[in-house]
């Protein structure tokens, strides 16, 4: 059974050994992408809008217990389960950037994509989340503010990708490695997140993605994720 191959472009590497679980990525993502906060009741009911959540599971028993943190965002699958099920092409593959797009303005809100996403990386706008004046001033004009009834998800900060690409092309050059960084990668204090063009074997992200500690989330499902995790832990001296 030959592994299905798909063209690659952008990739994200998460080094779980560096990740401390500090959640700066979630905050940075939310501020960059105009993600609304929902309040206590809705968070408790499973309606928090994190595009990127930190999956904290416990390993071991007291006193040898420790949390296993794993930031989970849209894995930008090469063979994405969310794409074929959308009736209106709102969840669609970007052939140019090789990521999965959530085209907000096309979405009719069937939420099928969200069910079919094994990572639960997609979020739904249950209401219009209006920010009180003047808090709406910080909304990022590069990212559409979503209205009620739409799906949304991590886009690898596609606005930054497009901006970087347009900037590079206006200056008549190729995009440099590390020039484009999603908000989470930029904020990550411990440098656990690395983003780059994985179709180019020389980029930092490509080199990290070939690390022997690599694995992908639910890779057995054949979704061909573009996010690579590097296993944490390891031994002293190893």
């Amino acid at each position: 059974m030959a592994e299905k191959e798909a063209p690659q472009k952008w990739g994200l590497v998460v080094d779980l050994d560096r990740c401390t679980g500090c959640n700066a990525c979630i905050a940075a993502c939310s501020m960059e992408n105009n993600i609304p906060f929902t309040g206590e009741d809705d968070v408790a009911y499973g309606r928090a809008m994190y595009w990127l959540y930190n999956k904290r599971e416990w390993v071991g028993e007291y006193p040898e217990i420790k949390p296993a943190f794993q930031p989970v965002m849209c894995q930008q699958c090469g063979n994405a389960p969310c794409e074929p099920v959308c009736p209106v092409f709102a969840s669609v593959h970007s052939e140019e950037e090789q990521i999965n797009l959530a085209v907000y303005n096309r979405c009719v809100g069937t939420r099928y994509c969200a069910n079919n996403c094994p990572y639960h990386a997609r979020q739904f706008n249950y209401y219009d989340y209006d920010l009180p004046e003047p808090m709406n001033s910080y909304l990022n004009p590069d990212v559409s503010v979503r209205r009620r009834g739409m799906m949304e998800k991590c886009t690898f900060c596609v606005q930054r990708i497009v901006r970087g690409r347009q900037k590079a092309s206006a200056e008549g050059r190729e995009v440099q490695d590390g020039e484009i960084q999603p908000a989470c990668v930029q904020a990550c204090p411990s440098g656990a997140l690395v983003f780059g063009d994985v179709s180019n074997p020389e980029t930092h992200a490509s080199r990290m993605a070939r690390d022997q500690r690599r694995y992908q989330l639910l890779e057995e499902l054949g979704t061909l994720p573009r996010v690579t995790y590097l296993k944490g832990g390891g031994r002293y001296g190893g």
Partner: protein, 479 residues
């Protein structure tokens, strides 16, 4: 209740009653004109109680369904109970439920017609009407469920300035097409055999009813050529609608089965859903027949113990078939050993919603198997009424287990979610009101018994003497 006990007495002792050929509608003919009058009376008689019911159901549908839906459109889906990860909730459960109900009409009418099951004759119309209205109620749900219903037409393939078409790879588009096809064909299939009856009604009414029937009867005069074409058309439709019916529920099941949700991704979902749909549909037919028999004039003539008996047998068979598929589905998933799937089926039996899972098994398997083998019970209408209601409760629970209870327990335990319906409850009740409202209104607008079919059957049936025994016999009217 008094009426029921009287009926019980009339049917006792059962075995003797069955021997009486008069017990069979087909062998208990009445003059044509009398039967026409009976049907017309049934249709036109309205009591105060009827109006109270009709108005309150209409109001119920307006407030519970359309009022609540409007509020939800204005506020957002947040007023419903869906959350992450249970993105589909009671709306889709009720959708599948109504689509299941809608299978009854086609099954009872088309399949039994094709197989020439004679007992079908008096209630094909009642069943077909269920199909149409069940579908109408069910078809609302994909719309209700949408986050942005005001752009639902993007699912319709039409040329537009965006150069965009629907995604034909999406099961939802298949669903959309299948349901519209089914709605259209079942409406036509309801309408075709109705034409002679409408003509009958046209000839016996005056005023606004006459005007309506005049238009709807399409100038039917009952000539040989018309009958020939009608029979031909009904025959074609009867055969053609069966694959449509199978495809519809298969496609509904594909909404789940093609997904990669653990617990959905199963090859048996197609037939499993069809059997489930027929089980719930036939059960709903029995429920409705009981209500019709008790509320409508002269219906105790048309709907008899033999019908409950025959449908009861059918139900038993389908309950067994359903159990077989359920067992198959469960065993294969369990044996397959995929952790995620295992966890889902474990959660079904032990999770917070496990009471629904047991309700499902009790209502769909235990109760039918313990009761329906017994002829006395099968021939006791109120018992059948309760049993069939319970079967539908069980089938509703089944869909609930398949949708929210499965979605809530997917691959990452960190992400498991609890779901509790909120505005879904009034909306679901609202569609029930809508269905009942439409059905009740239709019961006074169209002849609910296909008179010509009954009469045709009665002409074809006769008692023959074979040797010393009196035997019922049927003449083939159609080739």
């Amino acid at each position: 209740m008094a009426a029921e006990s009287k009926l019980m007495q009339a049917t006792k002792p059962a075995e003797h009653a069955e021997d009486d050929p008069k017990e069979h509608l087909m062998l208990d003919p009445r003059p044509r004109e009398e039967m026409n009058r009976m049907v017309m009376e049934a249709m036109t008689t309205t009591t105060r109680r009827y109006w109270i019911w009709l108005i309150s159901l209409g109001l119920g549908a307006a407030i519970l369904l359309f009022g609540a839906w409007g509020y939800m459109i204005a506020e957002g889906i947040g007023v419903a109970g869906v959350n992450r990860p249970v993105f589909w909730g009671v709306f889709i459960v009720t959708f599948v439920f109504w689509i299941g109900i809608s299978h009854a009409g086609t099954f009872v009418s088309a399949i039994l017609r094709v197989f020439k099951a004679e007992f079908r004759r008096p209630f094909t119309r009642a069943a077909e009407l269920m199909t149409t209205f069940g579908l109408a109620a069910g078809a609302l749900y994909p719309l209700i469920h949408l986050g942005r219903v005001w752009v639902f037409y993007w699912m319709v393939p039409y040329p537009n300035a965006r150069w965009l078409w629907p995604n034909f790879r999406s099961p939802l588009v298949w669903d959309f097409l299948a349901i519209t096809t089914y709605l259209l064909s079942s409406t036509i299939y309801l309408y075709l055999p109705l034409v002679p009856d409408l003509a009958m009604a046209r000839d016996r009414t005056k005023g606004w009813r006459h005007a309506i029937y005049k238009v709807l009867a399409l100038g039917w005069r009952g000539t040989e050529a018309e009958w020939y074409r009608l029979r031909k058309a009904i025959n074609i439709f009867a055969f053609a609608i069966i694959p449509v019916m199978f495809s519809v529920h298969t496609i509904v099941s594909w909404d789940f089965a093609v997904g990669q949700v653990a617990g959905w991704h199963s090859t048996i979902f197609g037939p499993y859903f069809i059997v489930g749909a027929i089980l719930s549909g036939v059960a709903a037919v029995v429920t409705i027949l009981f209500i019709l028999r008790n509320t409508m004039k002269h219906f105790d003539y048309f709907i008899r113990m033999e019908h409950f008996d025959a449908l009861g047998k059918l139900l038993l068979v389908f309950s067994m078939a359903w159990a077989y598929f359920f067992f198959n589905e469960y065993l294969i998933s369990w044996y397959g050993g995929d952790t995620a799937v295992r966890r889902v089926i474990d959660m079904h039996a032990t999770g917070p919603d496990s009471w629904l899972w047991y309700t499902m098994l009790i209502c769909n398997v235990v109760i039918p198997w313990l009761t329906l083998w017994n002829k006395t019970i099968r021939r006791t209408p109120w018992a059948m009424f309760i049993i069939t209601l319970l079967i539908n409760v069980g089938m509703y629970a089944e869909r609930y287990m398949i949708i929210p209870a499965t979605l809530g327990h997917q691959r990452f335990p960190f992400d498991w979610g609890m779901y509790s319906p909120r505005i879904e409850i009034p909306i679901a009740l609202g569609t029930l009101c809508l269905f009942m409202f439409l059905y009740m209104a239709a019961a006074r607008l169209i002849p609910l018994v296909p008179v010509w079919e009954v009469q045709e059957g009665q002409i074809a049936h006769s008692m023959r003497t074979v040797g010393k025994a009196q035997m019922p016999s049927v003449t083939e009217l159609e080739e």
